[in-house]
Structures are given as C-alpha cells and as structure tokens.
C-alpha cells in the first residue's frame, strides 16, 4: 500500500509545528489571564495563603493526572481512578485503625497502611492491565467494570460511613510533617514523583517503549518490544501512582472516605488532556501533567472563592472535558 493510499485515507488535520508551539504557550497564558481576571473580582485569590493552598491542592491532582497520563500514553484509559482511590482510602484506613486499636507500634501501623494501599493499587492495576494487555479488551469497558468493583468494595468495607481516626504518624508522614521547613509535604512528594516519572519516561527503555507503543502498537510489536508486558506494567504503574495519591489524600482528611474519589476520574483526565497529553496516545509528559493540574486546580479554587455552586462546577467540568477533547483533536498531527 503506497503512502499515497495512506494520504487518501488521512483526515487532513491543520496542526503543524506552528500550531503546536502556539498551543503549548497558550496554557500558561490562560492560567495567568484567569488568575488576573479573578483577582479583580476577588483579590484573595492571589494572596500568599491561597497560592499555597493551590500548590498543595494541585499536588494531589498531579499524582492522579500522572496516573492517567501513563495509561493514556499507551492509548488506554482508566475510568476506575476515582473509585480505586475511594477503596484504597477505606482499606488502608481500616487496616491502620485496626492495628492502632490493637496497640501495635506506630511504625508498623504506618507501614501496614502504606502496604495495604499500594498493594490494593497493585491489584487494581493488575486486573485492568491483565485484561487489557493479555486479552486485548477495550480499556473503557474493563476499567468501567473495575470502577464498579472498587465502588462496591469501598461502600461494603466502610459500611457507607467514613473510617475515622487515621493515626497521626501517618498523617504527619504524608501531610503535615516538617521534613523541609516551609515546604508542604504533599508538594515535596509530588515533586519527587514528578522527577522520578520524568526520569522513567525519558531515560529508560520502558519509558521509550511507552511512547512507541502509544504511537504505533503494531510497529512496537514488530520491533520486538515486549508490548504486552509493558502495557501491563503501565497500568500497574498508573494504579500505584493513584494509590499513592489516595494515601496522601487520606492522610490529609484524616479518615478513610468511601467517596474520596468523587469526580477525580474526570478531573484527572481533564488535567492530563488540557495539559497536552494526547488521547491518541504516544504524546505526553510530566510538564503537561503539571500544567494541566495547575489549571484545573486554579479553576476550581477560583470557582470556590467566587462561591459558585458545586453543581455548576460539575457542569463546567463536563464542558471543560468536551473543550479539551476538541482541543486535542485540533492538536493531533496523526497522518
């Protein structure tokens, strides 16, 4: 089949190098413009305290958006993100409060909580990745299924109510500890994760393979890359990132919440796509994730300060999603 035949089938999209750089600069400009705009109505938005809040808040989203990005890179998707966060929160809280009640040493309690959380995440990733990579099933359907499973588990384990009294050592480790004075723990953790992720994506064979698999899965297969194995690892990695984020959030709320996930799924996707991760696969990175997370966090922060109804925010999230995929379509240069 000649390249002309391919061109015949191509949808000629307008995006070229110029468009891409334009759109890349667009987001930071948009963020600044948005903040300035809100400032005129509500000056508190640019106060030191609020900015600090935004930074902390976006740290969590960075983790969840990264989790989503890793999977989207491979042309996949994780609809179970929010639900798994809820389930992990409940599970780890249950384990920790249970051990705490039994007077176990604090470090064992904290370790057990971490292991439970990450272990649960590992299993979710294994489930999703297993069906998707080995059986080649549509990621949407698989993660839709695991979404329901996690949701059911979260409500069943918690009995529908939050699990209170998550031990303080846990919270201080992941939330309000004082490791580096002046730098909030969540920000530190998010930064560390970003650095690791950057290294993984840009300097390891696995990372390179993710981009290649996302760009052309068949070509990756032909070139001898262990696509199936890497796909599974990608889903596990994503789930572990989400699990870590869940643990961080649990430390912050101080309780295992069966509804912690809430709208996280949509937010993580919105953040990733707006930042520049392409839904076609093979395009993305740590910077897009950070930018997108900042944008989404600032938006909801602004809306809260402007006292916009929570339900309206949900509607707006839906509109943003549609706008984001529209943007993504324009951006793509798939031949």
């Amino acid at each position: 089949m000649s390249d002309v035949d391919v061109a015949l089938r191509a949808r000629e999209t307008p995006a070229g190098g110029l468009w891409r750089s334009l759109l890349a600069v667009l987001l930071p400009i948009l963020i600044v413009a948005m903040e300035l705009g809100v400032y005129f109505i509500e000056p508190r938005v640019l106060s030191a305290g609020n900015l600090r809040n935004i930074l902390i808040q976006s740290s969590y989203l960075v983790l969840f958006a990264s989790a989503q990005m890793v999977v989207i890179l491979t042309r996949g998707f994780d609809l179970s993100l929010g639900a798994s966060v809820s389930a992990i929160s409940v599970a780890s809280a249950l384990v920790m409060t249970g051990l705490d009640a039994g007077d176990a040493a604090p470090w064992i309690v904290v370790a057990a909580g971490l292991v439970t959380g990450l272990g649960f995440g590992f299993l979710v990733g294994l489930f999703n990745g297993g069906f998707i990579s080995w059986l080649g099933i549509n990621p949407f359907v698989v993660t839709l299924g695991s979404l329901n499973i996690c949701l059911g588990l979260a409500t069943t384990m918690s009995g529908g109510r939050p699990v209170f009294n998550v031990p303080d050592p846990f919270s201080s480790l992941l939330y309000n500890g004082k490791l580096i004075p002046g730098v909030p723990v969540p920000v530190m953790l998010a930064a560390a994760v970003c650095i690791l992720l950057y290294f993984l994506l840009d300097h390891t064979v696995f990372g390179r393979a993710l981009y290649l698999i996302g760009n052309n899965p068949r070509a990756a297969l032909l070139a001898g890359l262990p696509s199936r194995r890497y796909l599974l690892v990608a889903y596990i990695l994503g789930a572990l990132l989400a699990a870590f984020g869940a643990l961080m959030l649990t430390a912050r709320t101080g309780s295992g919440e069966p509804n912690l996930g809430g709208s996280l799924m949509l937010e993580s996707i919105a953040a990733a796509v707006i930042g520049g991760v392409s839904l076609q696969g093979g395009v993305g990175g740590v910077i897009p994730v950070i930018l997108g997370s900042l944008f989404i966090t600032m938006m909801s922060n602004a809306m809260n300060l402007l006292r916009i109804d929570g339900y309206i925010q949900q509607i707006l999230l839906g509109v943003i999603i549609i706008a984001a995929i529209f943007l993504d379509r324009i951006r793509s240069t798939r031949a």
Binding site: R9, R11, F77, F131, L135, G136, I137, N138, F140, V141, V142, L144, G145, S146, L147, N148, I149, L151, G152, L153, T155, T156, G160, S263, L266, I269, L279, D309, Y311, I312, Q313, Q314, I315, L316, L317, G318, V319, I320, I321, I322, I325, F326, D328, R329
Partner: protein
C-alpha cells in the same frame, strides 16, 4: 475495515466445528443460558417464580430493555454512550419539575400537564443525544470522552435543578395509571418495551437506516464512498439512543412517583452489559434487538435472584463489574476464533 484477505483456495477446516459455530452464531448461548438460569432459580431461590416477583422482574427489565436497545444502536455504529444513566436522571428531574410546576395553573387538564412534562423529558434526551452525535460526527472525537462530558453536564444539571431533593407533584393519573398501572395483568412498562423492541426490529430489518447503521459500524470508509450520509445517520443514532434513555427515564419516574437526580447510577453499566451479553460487538456492525432484550432480561433475573437471596446491593455492584468484564472477555475470545477474511 479493509481486511487483509487471503486467497485460501484450499479445503475448509473442520466441518463439524464449523456447523457448531454457525449454530452458535445463529442463536447464541444466551437463550440457553436464560432458560438454565430460570430453571435453577425456580428451584433454589425462594419466592422466585411467584406472580408478584415475575411481574416485578418483567417491569424492571422493561426499563433496562429500552435503555439497552438504545445503547445497542450506538455500539453498532462503532460508538459508545456513557451518558445514558445521566440522561435518565435529567429526564426524571425535568419532567417532574415541569409537571409539578404546571400543577397549579392547569390542575383541571392533567393530560396537558403530562404532555408538557413528557415533552420536557424527551427534549432533554434529544439535546444530549444531539451534542453527542454532532461532536462524534463532525469533530471526530472519541464517543467515550464526549459522552463522559455530557454525562457530567447532565448529572450536574439534574442536581442543580433539584439540589438533590426528589421532586414530587406529578399528576395522579400519570403515576398510578401509567407508572404503576397494570394493563391486562401486565405492567405498563412491559408494553412500552415491547413496542420499542418492535420498532427497532423493523428499523433494523426493513429500513435504510438499519442497514446504514451496520455499514457505518462495519466499514465507515466503504459507507462514505458509497454515498451513505454517514454524518446524518451518526447523529440520528446518538439522538435515538438518548431519546430511548429519556423514554426509559419517563417510565421509571412514573413508577417511582417522583423526579430523582440520584436515580439508579448503575444504569449505564447495565445497558452496556446487557448489550455485550447479547452479542453486540464493541467494534461495531453487529447486533440484534431481540437478543438485547433477552440480555437485559438475563441481567435483571440475576439481580432479582441476588435480591431475593438478600445479597447486599453493594456486593451486587461488584458482581456487575465482574460480569461485564467477563462478558466482554468472552466476546473478544470468541471473535478471535472466527477470523474475518
């Protein structure tokens, strides 16, 4: 799909196996499974085969049938609609609000009130379907993403309109006569479901649109080149799916007796599950409405049995997730056997 066809020119493989797959392909394992399940439950589950329960199951599955049929159409054009559950909620809320709102002014004309409410509800479905369809057909964006977005918008709107509180005040005739009424011993919803199945059956087998839906899902390029107005029919299919979801929502609301934004949130997943169990392919081009009706029935019988066995609904959610994944896995494995030329 431009399939890489090869000229075998050789003898056909195992004839007996071939015949088995053709039979399997013709009726599928679903009717058999259904019969097996009914028999098993009749024996082992208390109060399963008694009249009130049977009527209950028939009524509940009717709502899902209407929903699943719409989902089937969208799946057949190679798409996906994750917003059907949200449309049901939005329809429920909007129709109830309109009816309750008009109650004061037109108390003596319940028929008009009901009509207004129904139109409001259907209008919601039409709008959502239109947005989904236009984005997919003209912007060529992923139907998953669009319907995720519209689902969020619809759910948010429903919550916003009601603040999460159920809306009462629908006309008595609507609720008791239609929603909870028994016509010739069967719940009204059953007749509605049968009517819709019949309409879609005719659509699939006797109309242009039915063929075009298969063509668009089976080989979009071929459809375009053959002059099929693909964009129009894509939009029409998504609209139809959402309108069906609205119809289901209207019937469900009438039965419940109030407009609820929090109406059964698993409906979307169940509609997909019912379709996949019924052999509708996620890749498009394959689907039969009769089977989807059976698929919905299958699911509801399972849920009903679990309810009767007092299994926690939260655990049922887990089962539903597992069933969906397994059903899709089975579908994927079985299509691997029959290699397309």
């Amino acid at each position: 799909m431009t399939a890489r066809s090869t000229d075998h020119g050789g003898a056909a493989p195992n004839v007996a196996l071939d015949r088995f797959y053709r039979l399997y392909g013709a009726i599928g394992f679903l009717p058999i499974m259904l019969v097996v399940l009914i028999v098993l439950f009749a024996i082992f589950v208390p109060h399963f085969l008694v009249l009130p329960n049977v009527l209950n199951v028939l009524r509940s599955s009717s709502y899902l049938v209407i929903l699943a049929v719409g989902q089937m159409l969208v799946l057949m054009v190679g798409g996906f609609d994750l917003s059907v559950g949200a449309v049901v909620a939005l329809t429920s809320v909007s129709s109830a609000l309109v009816m309750a709102g008009l109650k004061g002014q037109m108390a003596d004309q319940p028929a008009l009130i009901i009509l207004a409410g129904v139109l409001a509800g259907l209008g919601c479905g039409f709008l959502v379907g239109l947005v989904n369809g236009l984005c997919v057909a003209f912007l060529s964006v992923s139907p998953f993403m669009v319907s995720l977005g519209t689902a969020s918008i619809a759910t948010g709107s429903a919550l916003l309109l009601t603040n999460g509180i159920p809306v009462y005040g629908m006309p008595v005739g609507y609720v008791d006569g239609f929603g909870r009424g028994l016509w010739f011993k069967l719940p009204s919803a059953v007749y509605l479901a049968i009517a819709i199945v019949a309409v879609v059956f005719v659509l699939q087998n006797f109309t242009r649109m039915g063929r075009y839906i298969v063509a668009i899902g089976g080989n979009l390029q071929a459809a375009i080149v053959s002059g099929v107005p693909t964009r129009f029919y894509l939009v029409a299919t998504y609209v139809l799916c959402s309108v069906f979801a609205s119809i289901s929502g209207l019937a469900l609301t009438a039965q419940i007796g109030s407009g609820q934004a929090a109406i059964n949130s698993q409906l979307t997943l169940e509609s997909i599950a019912a379709a996949v169990i019924a052999g509708v392919s996620l890749k498009g081009g394959v689907g039969k409405v009769e089977m989807v009706a059976l698929g919905a029935l299958f699911l509801l019988i399972l849920t009903n049995a679990m309810d009767l066995l007092t299994i926690d609904p939260r655990i049922q959610t887990i089962f539903l997730g597992i069933i969906v994944v397994l059903a899709v896995a089975l579908d994927e494995l079985s299509t691997r056997r029959t290699r397309r030329v």
